[in-house]
């Protein structure tokens, strides 16, 4: 059972008001329990929690580099094993560190099946450096390196499917979650840390600053992603899809239209063709995961 009273994330951190990552991390730490060591790659989370000497972490925590969190976690796990210690090793990193620059170390750690849990809080761009595109940025999102312009509709590529990649490594437990569904999120974290081997959770963590909405809308935006089928919460056990959250789907524009990163799809005029492409992504998700009620 998840102990919701666990509070291992200290006030005083420097995240933006309404930060999805901060909200998600508080939930992650409740799901993970007290006996945990956290590794964070470079990124927003690392920076807003640990300006020397003020740490927000009340659990042991380590940051080494941007791209090596999974390798650092591998070393910690090996050391703990050798010492006969019980702590769970948990990586909490952003999408850039996970799906792009850290992919080599991530793949290695999962191939070796270290007993670690890797959690990616996915805010779909490099937020710490100023909202640049990552491999997790969704199709057509305008970022500072995939800007919408007179001859661009923003990001040209679909999100990299890292959960599938890690499931293909033989991971015993891969899941997606959303901070807008806290009970599900915490339970999945608890399951992941208590499943032996390398487990992975990708958490949809809306970023008010990067996506362009007010900080009080973080949870609402997250819910819309689920309700439109653009984000699917599911679990894969030993590579087999076990559970996907079913929804009565809303049109994607309900999600897109509340975020400045998709504003170019609606202004100066509504771009039916592009919105249809994104609707097709949601439709494909719905078919793949069987989420339609």
């Amino acid at each position: 059972m998840v102990d919701k009273s666990i509070e291992n994330f200290e006030c005083g951190h420097r995240a933006c008001g309404g930060c999805g990552a901060a909200t998600a991390v508080r939930m992650i730490l409740k799901g993970a329990g007290e006996d945990v060591i956290v590794v964070s790659p470079t990124g927003c989370l690392e920076v807003f929690t640990t300006p020397y000497p003020e740490t927000a972490w009340k659990v042991p925590w380590i940051h080494s580099l941007f791209e090596n969190a999974a390798a650092v976690a591998s070393g910690i796990e090996a050391s703990l094993k050798r010492q006969g210690r019980s702590e769970k090793v948990l990586v909490i990193g952003g999408d850039g560190a996970t799906v792009d620059i850290g992919m080599l170390c991530l793949s290695g750690a999962f191939e070796r099946n270290h007993d670690i849990t890797y959690i990616c809080y996915d805010n779909e761009a490099y937020m710490n450096t100023g909202i640049q595109r990552s491999g997790a940025t969704p199709f057509d999102a305008s970022t500072s390196t995939s800007p919408a312009g007179s001859c661009s509709m923003g990001n040209k590529h679909a999100k990299k499917d890292v959960p599938a990649i890690l499931a293909a490594h033989g991971s015993p437990y891969v899941a997606t979650a959303s901070l807008s569904y806290p009970t599900d999120l915490m339970k999945k974290v608890e399951t992941a840390v208590n499943t032996p081997g390398a487990t992975y959770i990708q958490i949809h963590a809306p970023c008010c600053t990067g996506w362009g909405f007010e900080g009080d809308q973080t949870v609402a935006v997250g819910k819309l992603a689920i309700e439109t089928g653009l984000w699917v919460n599911y679990e894969m056990v030993d590579g087999v899809l076990r559970k996907a959250k079913k929804v009565k789907r809303k049109p994607v524009e309900e999600y897109l239209s509340v975020q400045k990163r998709f504003r170019h799809l609606f202004k100066p005029k509504r771009n039916e063709e592009e919105i249809a492409k994104i609707q097709a992504i949601a439709d494909a998700n719905a078919a793949k995961f069987g989420i339609d009620i």
Binding site: V36, P60, S64, A70, G75, A78, S79, E111
Partner: protein
């Protein structure tokens, strides 16, 4: 006990005797025989360690950072391109003050690709905050691993170290070595006692970032630890001598240097050839000696200035080049001797495995005598 071993196997045995708890390495020529030997030891329960077969050198050292921070003695080995891939991890490990020991089987840097020896790889990491020790022969390579762990893990030091030995020239050469027993090594090297560690019972945040209000002081502390390492190497080198009889109490070593007029300065296996060449030149009445640098980082500038104070000419044998400038050792020596009247010449040689023979040492000595230096030595002019 005397054994005849390949250099890599002598190093692997030394590492085993140091009881690392986590070994993390990626294979690369000419380092492979070391890590293969260690993997075999783990497979045969002769080494009680976790051996992590990582997917790159970058991860090899990153895993060492994790394991070291979690409280284990860690070891890795690499060379050349592998070390270059570790570049940012090297700086990170030193800044985090982790006493990781890593063997470097020195090899040239690409391009062009070369698997053969020079010292460009480790020299290029000279600013990374790692102690750098260079071995002349396999006995020294073996012994320096014990010394490195002893120095690095001192809570007054807490720095990582490279133990460098020349790829192929030493790593793949069989030499007799005196192998200490486990009891002897245990008596010299205490069990790993981490200064601080990741522990749920006493949560500490590692690897925080430093604003401009703090960063410079952290770098200064790294520098001070590096300078303290000089004294620690002397102290633990002396302790080593008392226990094992082999003398590593000096950061540098002289050979026929006391009355020399010309001093050759070198690091690594070339020192053996230089000594033989000196013996011959001495017979011809040439007053030449060797100053061997065992410890390149921290750099023993004062010790070198004192040891060379009486000579007229210095010739540095640099198996590396800082392109656009000079050899790295040459630059350091010129700095150490600044203001003296000693003539100092730098010779870039032996790059990418180009053989250095006694006659080359003799030729360089002659060039230095003639006042000709700061050059690549031994170029094939017909190719240029």
């Amino acid at each position: 006990m005397k054994e005849i071993l390949e250099g890599s196997h002598a190093v692997a045995e030394a590492v085993r005797l140091c009881r690392p708890q986590v070994v993390s390495a990626y294979p690369i020529t000419p380092q492979t025989h070391i890590v293969e030997a260690l993997a075999s030891m783990v497979a045969d329960c002769k080494l009680d360690a976790e051996y992590i077969c990582v997917e790159s050198e970058f991860s090899a050292l990153s895993a060492c950072i994790g394991a070291s921070t979690a409280g284990s003695r860690t070891y890795s080995a690499t060379t050349s391109q592998g070390l270059a891939l570790m570049y940012e991890v090297c700086f990170n490990a030193a800044g985090m003050r982790l006493p990781i020991v890593m063997t470097i089987a020195n090899r040239a840097m690409s391009a062009p690709l070369s698997i053969w020896n020079d010292q460009q790889d480790s020299i290029s990491l000279r600013d990374s905050g790692w102690i750098q020790l260079y071995a002349e022969d396999n006995q020294e390579a073996l012994d320096l691993h014990l010394l490195a762990y002893r120095v690095c893990e001192d809570h007054d030091i807490l720095l990582p170290a490279f133990v460098c030995f020349d790829g192929f020239i030493l790593s793949h050469t069989y030499e007799p070595v005196d192998m200490p027993t486990q009891e002897e090594v245990d008596a010299y090297l205490p069990a790993f006692n981490p200064y601080q560690r990741l522990d749920a019972k006493d949560p500490i945040s590692f690897g925080m970032y430093a604003t401009p209000d703090y960063y410079m002081e952290f770098r200064y502390e790294n520098q001070r630890a590096m300078l303290r390492a000089k004294e620690a190497i002397v102290r633990y080198g002396t302790l080593f001598k008392e226990q094992f009889g082999r003398d590593y109490s000096g950061l540098i070593e002289g050979y026929e240097l006391e009355d020399a007029e010309i001093a050759l300065v070198a690091m690594g296996s070339i020192c053996g050839t230089v000594k033989d060449a000196i013996d011959e030149m001495r017979k011809d009445g040439i007053k030449v000696g060797l100053l061997k640098i065992r410890c390149f980082r921290p750099f023993p500038d004062e010790e070198i200035a004192a040891a060379l104070a009486h000579v007229k000419t210095v010739a540095i044998l640099d198996k590396n080049v800082s392109l656009g400038s000079k050899g790295a050792v040459g630059l350091e020596i010129k700095d150490a001797l600044y203001g003296s009247s000693i003539a100092v010449y730098d010779y870039i040689l032996g790059l990418g495995g180009r053989d250095i023979r006694k006659k080359d040492i003799r030729a360089i000595t002659k060039l230095a005598e003639q006042g000709s230096g700061d050059m690549f030595y031994g170029l094939r002019e017909e190719l240029l």
